[in-house]
């Protein structure tokens, strides 16, 4: 006799179901959006929170890590806005247009919306959902199809975020900084953004996620459409508060003859899952997908990437570095898929972990799935301690231990940071690495 065993729902899953039932009628968006939410929630509810027996979540058992689901964060009050205003900018004085979200909600009075470059449109996602913006109808939930449970949850509960459109041929001079500032109490945020960069346009996006030392949860998703011949740089800084749970998803569809770079810098959060589903739809695009993760204490950060080559002749370079101290753990799961039509694909993926402590753990899982026969693909993975011979060489020149270690760690991480085209941001990130290392003591 076969009996289907349905596992009991966890407290967090029950709470999420209750939340959805309670707020579904209040969430922004009309009929089609409501239907999208409904179907996403059903998909989530059927499987529950992903756990270690789901291959894609093997190393980040969200069901176990997320004991409870925090209530939805309230819209920011005056105090929250004041706090956000006072918070130091994670990209320092890099010239940019800052668009601020507090507790997941767009805050126009903290955002710089003046003198928009020609062809640039910025709106709040909540407003766009409510009025049924054509971009929403055209793209939302459709950029890259995925049945990922965390993404489904985001779609079901998405509140606010950014809707950005860059018209064909437009050049956005100032980098666009989407600054997400988390709640300062136990609450949850479901942010959703859609960015459409049309043919031949140029833009740089910086996405930062920061927060206080509170027990909050963030589920953020960004859908990105990069048109043919467009040139787009995306830099994401995950610097959440020390107790935060952060799950974020990038869904990107890249056109032909485009240039696309994305870089994720992860230093904050108790548990971080950063997932990227990137599809190359057009021929001969050149892309860099990179990241650096610096962890300490009991931090856990998971980078999961699928680079899906559908079109012919694209080049992608994937490079991920992690530096692990204390009892921290970094996970990298990277898969390059080369579809039958994607001949002449040139893809190389490397992941490297530097373990500064005996108790730190790195799990690297690079994969290639190739269905074409004329491609150049490769992957590599390393994990190890600092090279004692190099340390001795530096010390023999008078450089003290900690400084010698810092020099080697900076050079290790620097190799990934070098891939960022914006010189000012490269500097800011190298300074952030140095600051992180000097905090090691």
């Amino acid at each position: 006799m076969n009996v289907e065993v349905k596992p009991m729902k966890t407290a967090a899953e029950l709470a999420l179901a209750n939340t959805f039932a309670a707020v579904r009628d209040r969430l922004p968006g009309g009929g089609p959006v409501a239907a999208l939410r409904e179907s996403a929630f059903r998909s989530f509810d059927a499987h529950g929170l992903p756990h270690r027996r789901i291959e894609e979540w093997k190393y980040t058992d969200l069901r176990a890590l997320m004991r409870e689901a925090k209530p939805l964060a309230a819209p920011p009050d005056a105090a929250a806005k004041a706090r956000a205003k006072a918070a130091p900018c994670p990209i320092g004085d890099v010239e940019c247009r800052r668009i601020v979200f507090v507790n997941g909600a767009f805050v126009p009075e903290l955002s710089d919306l003046g003198a928009l470059e020609k062809g640039l449109t910025i709106d709040s996602m909540a407003a766009a959902l409510a009025k049924g913006d054509p971009l929403i109808t055209q793209h939302l939930g459709k950029v890259v199809a995925s049945d990922d449970a965390a993404l489904a949850l985001n779609t079901a509960l998405m509140g606010d975020g950014a809707l950005v459109h860059v018209a064909a041929g437009a050049v956005v001079d100032r980098p666009l900084h989407l600054a997400f500032i988390g709640p300062d109490k136990a609450a949850s945020v479901f942010a959703r953004s859609l960015i459409v960069i049309e043919k031949g346009a140029r833009a740089m996006l910086i996405e930062s996620h920061e927060g206080a030392d509170a027990d909050y949860q963030v589920n953020a998703a960004l859908e990105l459409v990069v048109g043919d011949e467009a040139h787009v740089d995306h830099v994401k800084l995950i610097g959440e508060g020390a107790k935060a749970l952060h799950v974020s998803t990038l869904l990107a569809a890249i056109g032909a003859h485009a240039r696309f770079n994305t870089f994720t810098f992860t230093t904050g959060g108790a548990v971080v899952r950063n997932q990227m589903f990137i599809r190359f739809d057009g021929a001969e695009t050149v892309a860099g997908i990179r990241g650096a993760t610096l962890l300490q204490k009991r931090q856990h950060a998971d980078t999961t990437l699928i680079a899906d080559h559908v079109a012919v002749g694209c080049q992608s370079r994937e490079l991920f570095k992690s530096v692990l101290d204390g009892d921290s753990r970094a996970v990298f799961q990277g898969k390059i898929i080369v579809r039958p039509g994607a001949q002449k694909t040139d893809a190389k993926m490397m992941t490297q972990a530097l373990l500064l402590s005996d108790r730190a753990e790195a799990d690297n899982k690079p994969e290639l799935e190739i269905f074409a026969d004329d491609v150049q693909c490769g992957h590599g993975a390393t994990a190890g301690a600092l090279d004692q011979n190099l340390l001795f060489y530096l010390k023999a020149r008078g450089i003290p231990q900690k400084q010698a270690e810092a020099l080697l760690i900076q050079s290790f991480v620097g190799e990934a940071i070098e891939g960022i085209e914006h010189a000012g941001l490269r500097e800011i990130l190298m300074e952030a690495v140095a600051a992180h290392l000097s905090a090691r003591g």
């Binding site: 060489y393 530096l394 020149r397 003290p400 020099l407 900076q410 050079s411």
Partner: protein, 252 residues
């Protein structure tokens, strides 16, 4: 007081005894050559003096200006003026040569209570020294030793020595892998650094280098001990007759 006193030094690596009671005294301003066959312990001695991890001193002592050198970390030794020119200089990908030189120089100056060099001062100083050693500016823009030929790496060691102005420079087979022109450039670089306040230990397998860098004292090392000490003529004698006789002596 002698600058360096090595007394009955015994050391082992991975449980294998390499140095078996070395006695050696270097006065201020002297240049000592240490010669010996492969495996006699020359490089081990240089690593023990510089403080390389994994080299265990089991007996004896080493004094620098009367201070216990062996109790110091490698970076403290460097700050006290000990410099080891590596036989095989390491490549450090990602660390720019200038950053490396500057960090080292300023770390040592800081320890000695000297102010850091300003950027223009530092760059001027490096260019001056690099020029004399025929090191291209382009090389200094690269990561430390990355993509350097064997000879370029050795010249880079002498560049570091010149900038750091040590009181005790130990040159471990600096001549190995150099052609005759490069040897001359390196030897000139070393000779320019000879000074009344600076002592040097030049470790070499061949007498050839000592035609260019003339030692005050020559020691022959065999099986981890100094088996013969003499003047510069000892090097010529070794060249003519080889190390065989000393290997037998050490065994006896």
């Amino acid at each position: 007081m002698a600058l360096l006193e090595i007394k009955n030094l015994h050391a082992e690596v991975d449980g294998k005894k390499i140095l078996n009671g070395i006695d050696l005294t270097v006065e201020k301003g002297q240049l000592h050559a240490i010669m010996g066959p492969n495996g006699s312990g020359k490089s081990t001695l240089s690593y023990v003096l510089a403080g390389k991890p994994g080299y265990t001193v089991t007996e004896g002592e080493v004094l620098l200006d009367g201070e216990n050198l062996l109790a110091m970390e490698p970076d403290e030794r460097a700050a006290k003026g000990v410099f080891l020119a590596f036989q095989y200089p390491l490549e450090i990908p990602g660390v720019a040569s200038m950053t490396f030189l500057r960090t080292a120089l300023n770390a040592q100056r800081k320890r000695r209570g000297q102010p850091e060099l300003s950027t223009p001062e530092f760059i001027k100083r490096v260019r001056e020294v690099a020029g004399k050693l025929e090191i291209e500016q382009e090389m200094l823009r690269r990561a430390v030793n990355v993509g350097f030929s064997g000879g370029e790496k050795k010249r880079n060691e002498i560049l570091q020595m010149t900038l750091l102005e040590p009181r005790l420079a130990i040159l471990d087979e600096t001549d190995s892998g150099l052609d005759i022109d490069a040897l001359r450039v390196v030897a000139d670089g070393v000779n320019r650094q000879r000074a009344p306040e600076r002592s040097m230990i030049v470790i070499t397998h061949y007498q050839r280098l000592l035609n260019y860098i003339v030692p005050d004292v020559v020691h022959v090392l065999s099986k981890g001990r100094v088996v013969k000490t003499g003047g510069k003529d000892l090097a010529h004698e070794l060249e003519a007759r080889g190390y065989a006789q000393y290997q037998d002596e050490a065994a006896a």
